[in-house]
């Protein structure tokens, strides 16, 4: 391995929430050397969840969602509008799409996810006017323009994002149809009972569902005009929102030897792990691209696409990497500390105010703990009799104590 001069910066690839939190945490943990963030978007880091909820229903601006700037990170160098195209872990370099090769002392991978697009033979142009995803601020700004009274919207996908966009658009007066191959909306994380209740509430607000269906053709030439479903039904529409999940931005790591099977494999210290099992002390992974073991639940590394994960993993990397760079003997102890961030998520759809902790998607059993399904309630999610997730509709105070139960391993 080539000698890496101490003067080379720590490079964080990814300029969204995870990259920002890692930069802040490096500074807070005492790393004062050069620090560079490479980010694809031109916007300074901002909060994504409101883009399908509150912000989409009003005026979408960067100010409304920007994260606060902190004095400790004012000297961080931001390279915006650039993306990484390659990395070399032996030469300690990363190459950007303008052809520049950047040397690093340590590398933080925080490139996150992108929206998956609908791909149909002969209909591969997702940039067709009228077709949208909602991942970035610019996506939300563009979609907001379309959400006018009477517009006909097809939402493809019935996960949290699809349901939130559907509810927001419906409130703005659009006619909304959700098309999804699933049996019920948000069924994978929430389970049958709650999913059925969510669909019922959406229908009460006039949202239409085509569940168990997929799109076989997209209509329109110059502009999106509708879809044809696999049962032959034709839905004429003005706008298509594709909320069919995400893909990992890990292509730039091809050839590095890192395990990029699903995201980027990391250990519990968020150090990147190679396919041959090598753990890298100078390469780290942050955010929803990280596949890491969460020891409260089990030993299985998995990616967690919840909002708190970029912050929690960013802070973890900041602490571990700063100790490594300080070379003061604290690294082994800090890297070995338990790391069990509580998955935390929420959703707003019409009057549905859903809040959740843990990983309910892993459950084999659901129990109604408080209230009633048709109103406010708390549902517990169990695997092998141990609580691994909890979901509340309203009832925040009743919900919160269960977070500790899950954190303690779920025994009751």
């Amino acid at each position: 391995m080539d000698a890496v001069p101490d003067a080379a910066p720590v490079i964080i690839v990814g300029g969204a929430m995870g990259g920002l939190r890692a930069a802040e945490a490096l500074r807070k943990s005492g790393y004062s050397g050069p620090l560079t963030v490479i980010g694809e978007e031109l916007h300074a880091p901002y909060n994504r969840p409101p883009l399908s909820k509150e912000v989409l229903s009003t005026v979408v601006t960067h100010e409304a969602v920007a994260f606060p700037r902190r004095a400790a990170t004012e000297d961080v160098e931001w390279l915006r509008g650039r993306s990484a195209t390659a990395a070399d872990l032996d030469a300690h370099t990363v190459t950007t799409d303008d052809g520049v090769k950047h040397a690093w002392r340590a590398l933080v991978i925080a490139t996150g996810l992108r929206a998956r697009r609908l791909t149909l033979p002969g209909r591969q142009d997702p940039s067709m006017p009228g077709r949208y995803t909602i991942r970035t601020l610019d996506d939300a700004i563009a979609l907001r323009e379309e959400l006018r009274e009477g517009r006909r919207l097809v939402v493809l996908g019935s996960g949290f994002l699809g349901c939130e966009v559907a509810a927001t658009a419906r409130k703005l007066g659009c006619e909304v149809t959700i098309v999804s191959p699933s049996e019920l909306p948000i069924i994978r994380p929430l389970g049958l009972e709650l999913a059925a209740e969510i669909q019922r509430r959406h229908e009460a607000h006039g949202v239409q569902f085509r569940m168990g269906r997929s799109v076989v053709d997209v209509l329109g030439d110059a502009r999106f005009a509708g879809v044809v479903l696999d049962d032959g039904e034709r839905l004429d529409a003005d706008v298509l929102v594709e909320a069919i999940g995400s893909e990992c931005n890990s292509e730039w790591l091809a050839g590095t030897g890192l395990d990029t099977t699903d995201g980027v494999l990391a250990d519990a210290a968020m150090r990147a792990v190679s396919q041959d099992g090598t753990v890298h002390d100078d390469v780290y992974v942050v955010g929803d691209i990280a596949r890491f073991p969460h020891l409260v639940f089990d030993q299985t590394p998995r990616r967690i696409e919840h909002w708190n994960i970029p912050t929690d993993t960013g802070k973890r990397v900041g602490a571990v990497l700063a100790a490594k760079l300080a070379d003061d003997g604290s690294f082994i102890e800090i890297a070995a500390r338990p790391f069990t961030p509580m998955p935390t998520f929420w959703s707003v759809q019409f009057e549905i105010d859903l809040r959740a902790y843990g990983l309910p998607s892993l459950a084999d059993e659901t129990r109604l703990l408080e209230g009633e399904l048709a109103g406010a309630c708390v549902l517990g999610y169990y695997r092998g009799g141990r609580m691994i997730g909890v979901v509340g509709l309203g009832m925040q105070a009743a919900l919160m104590p269960y977070r500790q139960v899950i954190a303690a391993g779920g025994a009751r």
Binding site: R21, P49, P68, A71, W307, T311, T344, W346, M395, M400
Partner: protein
């Protein structure tokens, strides 16, 4: 002293801040957030963590 501000028009009473800085933030019996407008200097890390975990990004440290 650190001055803490919560935009109560934004706050949706998620209570995430309560886990990070329990002396400064709490949910009352109506599930509504209440908070102290001043924190001690040695509580800065806690309050910053509360700022970070607020889903609505409603908490601000006034410098």
């Amino acid at each position: 002293m650190i001055k803490v501000e919560v935009d109560m028009n934004l706050c949706q009473h998620y209570g995430q801040c309560v886990f990070e800085a329990p002396r400064i933030f709490h949910l009352n019996s109506d599930d509504k957030l209440e908070y102290l407008a001043e924190a001690n200097d040695d509580e800065r890390d806690q309050v910053e963590a509360a700022v970070d975990v607020c889903p609505m990004q409603a908490i601000r440290i006034v410098e």
